[in-house]
């Protein structure tokens, strides 16, 4: 028999001023199943909680209803208090008579009636509450980080330093991502590779990190604590453990003028067997079979093999699938730049000296194709005038993307600054829409570019660029002066918008996490859970979530890592017990529940007889994945699935209690 206690809170005059709390208490006493009803000034205060606890003890209550403030305020407070008296926390229900009654209504009699209705409704609900135990999922304390850019590296290092084993999977031959392509970084102008390389090396040498470069995650199944992952280690054609990184192989490769270097943004060439850049980690070359003469000409060319001292070149290596079980995953797949050719008027692709921001980084870089001397890609001369155009693709819902790519304002200022430093007497012009320089030292940095380095900032759009006698004629508007401007430039640098890494949507689908319409992974909550994906156990870091700069990427990597370390600080993962469960007797296996489940929490379960013959197939809920949203219940025609905490009979009783 239910023994329900009803506690009506005054909340000082917040409730009692509009609701006749004594009346609500009297009405509560009349409800069948209610054995005690009291009102109190502040239920959430210590004495209030104590009275709740005493009553649970003295009256042997099986459930309590608090007619008080919103459950979003104090549900947990009261649940904790109830637990202390041995009551299951889910036997505490809140009738929200403050936010949804006393604060929003004025007629005391009617507000009281509403409070009574809500109280009765919750009594009916609590009568039908069942004890709910939180679900415990065992954790495999190993993490997978997908993507070895700065955020992935940071996540991997933080997790590894926390004593947890990490698998870091990078698609490219080396880790380092976009950051290692950069020259100097704003606003401090420290050299990117100088600060990045030590971290890369640390990754490679860390006893807790297993590094898979030139590898891709092929398949992920399972759930938090227990993800089964398949990693495809692409055939590198080089035996990693034997390679010394001496370079004899790539120096011997005859294919040295034909293949564009991806790392140098097509501004230089590479060989068929290559390391993308000298500081690559691991410093082990990859043989690009799509261009290698050995593979294209039927095994004739073996020059690299011959040049290799330790004989670690192996043309027969095959793709390898590695299967691992991990407890948590970080998705840090990074970004690409938008396709500049969408902006035909800027002449990208047509004029060699119109380059993207990342290309310009390579031109600035000491390890780049020009060894840090700014040279025009067309004729190798040093430009004296450069026009920088911001927001190419960004903030352009018509042709590009509506969002702001966030880093372009800063890197353009940096480019102009570095240009001024490297080419004395040069002149840069920057076309911009707004300047967004909001982090520490950023505004000062941009000011410096304008004031000390003489960059001319023009607020406006460029309408057209064309070539005339070796110059790029940039026509645009300066909206501040209202004048049309025309600049004869030697080079044009486009601050191209940022988009998610190609194929990141496939990664999201494989992981079962959600992504927005642009392809950026979406956070579980944009403000309060920015490091978590929609799927438990999968965390997000870096530009895969959206445009951000290096410090933010590092922070997000650390955030993901700390989430994982927090998760792994226990042996089991606790999930709220308010999850779905299937009535196997009546389930008819139509799997509509599976179709509508946003968390892949429903699977097929075969029920077998003693001889092992399948006698029935039913739906089955994975407690580690279920979030208790209840979409499955709605989809189930026979109501053979139900969600604890919001069971069908409870909702029914709530509605029924409102009958008039």
């Amino acid at each position: 028999m239910a023994r329900i206690g009803v506690f009506v809170c005054w909340c000082g005059s917040n409730i009692a001023g509009t609701v006749d709390v004594a009346k609500v208490t009297e009405e509560a006493k009349k409800v069948p199943g209610v054995v005690t009803a009291v009102d109190y000034k502040y239920m959430c205060s210590d004495p209030g909680q104590n009275s709740l606890r005493n009553m649970i003890k003295e009256q042997k209550l099986t459930g309590v209803v608090l007619a008080a403030c919103s459950p979003h305020m104090h549900e947990n407070t009261f649940r904790k208090a109830a637990v202390k008296e041995g009551l299951n926390p889910y036997f505490v229900e809140i009738a929200n008579i403050r936010e949804q009654v006393s604060w929003v209504h004025e007629d005391k009699e009617r507000a009281t009636q509403k409070a009574v209705d809500l109280m009765k409704m919750m009594v009916e609900k609590v009568k039908r509450d069942r004890p709910i135990e939180d679900v415990r999922v065992p954790l495999n304390k190993k993490a997978l980080v997908i993507g070895g850019g700065i955020s992935g590296i940071q996540a991997a290092l933080d997790i590894a330093n926390g004593g947890v084993e990490v698998l870091l999977v990078e698609k490219e031959p080396s880790i380092g991502g976009r950051m290692i392509q950069l020259d100097e970084t704003f606003p401090t102008l420290d050299c990117s590779s100088c600060i990045m390389t030590p971290k890369m090396v640390e990754v490679n040498q860390h006893p807790n990190i297993k590094l898979y470069t030139y590898s891709e995650v092929e398949d992920v199944s399972g759930y938090i604590g227990n993800f089964k992952v398949k990693i495809k280690k692409k055939a590198r054609s080089v035996v990693e453990k034997d390679c010394t990184g001496c370079g004899d192989c790539w120096n011997a490769c005859p294919m040295h003028k034909n293949v564009k270097s991806e790392f140098n943004m097509n501004l230089s060439e590479r060989t068929a067997i290559y390391v993308p850049f000298p500081q690559a980690v691991p410093l082990v070359p990859v043989l690009d079979r799509s261009v290698c003469l050995h593979f294209k000409k039927g095994g004739k060319c073996v020059k690299c093999y011959e040049a290799c001292g330790p004989k670690c070149i192996d043309f027969d290596i095959k793709d390898e699938i590695i299967e691992e079980t991990v407890g948590a995953i970080v998705a840090s797949t990074g970004y690409d730049l938008m396709d500049n050719s969408l902006y035909g008027e800027y002449g990208y692709g047509k004029y060699k000296d119109v380059v993207s921001g990342l290309q310009f980084e390579r031109l600035l870089s000491a390890s780049g194709p020009t060894e840090g001397v700014i040279k025009r890609p067309s004729d190798g001369t040093t430009p004296q005038t450069i026009v920088f155009i911001q927001c190419v693709g960004s903030r352009d819902p018509e042709k590009g993307v509506p969002y702001c790519s966030k880093v372009c304002c800063m890197y353009t200022a940096k480019h102009a600054k570095l240009f001024a430093h490297k080419v004395h007497g040069s002149q840069s012009y920057v076309f911009y829409i707004d300047i967004r320089a909001t982090s520490k030292g950023y505004e000062e940095f941009v000011r410096g570019t304008m004031e000390q380095d003489g960059a001319v900032y023009l607020r406006g759009r460029v309408s057209r660029i064309y070539e005339d006698e070796g110059k790029l004629i940039v026509k645009g508007a300066d909206t501040l002066s209202g004048n049309q401007v025309e600049i004869a430039a030697d080079m044009v640098v486009l601050a191209t918008g940022v988009i998610p890494k190609k194929g990141s949507d496939k990664v999201a689908q494989m992981l079962g996490i959600s992504y927005d319409k642009y392809g950026f992974f979406t956070e579980s909550h944009p403000k309060l859970r920015p490091a978590e994906s929609s799927t438990a156990g999968i965390y997000l870091a870096g530009m895969a979530q959206g445009p951000r700069d290096i410090p933010e990427s590092v922070v997000s990597g650390s955030a993901a890592a700390s989430k994982i370390l927090g998760l792994f600080s226990k042996n089991e993962y606790e999930v709220e017990g308010t999850i779905a469960s299937v009535n196997e007797a009546t389930c008819v296996a139509c799997f509509y529940c599976q179709r509508v489940c946003g968390f892949s929490a429903i699977s097929r379960k075969e029920i077998k007889d003693r001889s092992g013959k399948v006698i029935k197939v039913v739906a089955s809920v994975n407690p580690g994945l279920c979030t208790g949203c209840g979409a499955c219940v709605n989809a189930c025609f026979s109501k053979s699935i139900d969600v604890k905490g919001f069971m069908d009979d409870q909702i029914y009783a709530e509605i029924k209690s409102l009958a008039i």
């Binding site: 009349k30 009765k120 009916e124 007797a585 029924k656 209690s657 009958a659």
Partner: protein, 339 residues
Amino acid sequence: MEEKYFEIEAENLKKFVNSLISDNFNVIAPKDKDGDTFYGKIDKFDEANLDILLPKMSYKEYLLPKTETLFEYSFSGADVDIKDGLASVTGENKKRVIFGGRPCDAAAGPIMEKVFNWDYRDEFFNERFKNLTIISIACEKPDNYCFCTEMQLSPESSYGSDILLKKEGNKYFAAVVSEKGLELITPYLSLFKETTKDKVPADKDWKKIFEIEKTKGFLDKNFEHNYFQDRFLSCIGCGICTYICPTCHCFDIQDEGNLKEGRRIRNWDSCQFAIFTLHTSGHNPRVTQGDRYRQRLMHKFKIYSEKFNKYLCVGCGRCSRNCPEDIDLKEIARDLSLL
């Protein structure tokens, strides 16, 4: 009572029925609706369709409504106030007359009456039964689904009727077989002309095509016969046969209500539903539709007759005519009698 015989001209029969209506009787008669004919309340004689063999459904609902409120309850504080549903049945101020039904339908009343007065007297049923006066019309042309003759009745049987009419040319012979029947016509005797039994045309010699005793004989011995499982693979387990049957009378008792008030009702139910015998444990003693149809046969042709000495079937053939999968009870009863 001793039967009395009357003659009544067709015109006068019409006057009689119209007078009943104007004298505040509820007259229920076969009535056309949606391209079919159902029993329904008529407001004048001409609304009745006396040409068709049988309405699609029987008039069982006037004895056992689809839903009957047994009592209503309401809470006032800790008190429960209960209102007996029987009051509204006894309080019906209008008496009902079923007019123009067939002998098979009429026979259902006294057959069903037995089960409602066996250990427990069901006052709801009795009250309704008492207030029902039945004027049936003998069949001239039964169809191929009819088997009342095999069910120990006949197209001209007066069993269960208060008055049985037989048509001849432009007039009817009325056999008044009960006090209720006599009472009903007494105020209108001017329309009737008393006659004697010998003037009434004799019953025809209706032929049987099978012996129902032999069907019972088979059922007595063959509870686990393959016939049931094989034959009723084609049964989809709808309740049509039981719901339109004049004698099927199973019901289910349910409560409906809220925190303030509610009622207890009984609803028609059917042995053809899987849930009918489903135990709380999840076990179901009648697993297959074969089991369930066997139950229907057993109840009709064996169990009921052993207990009440009457078969629970009047041979109206409705179940056969209306089965979506063309399962023909007459054919089955015959098959079983020959097995």
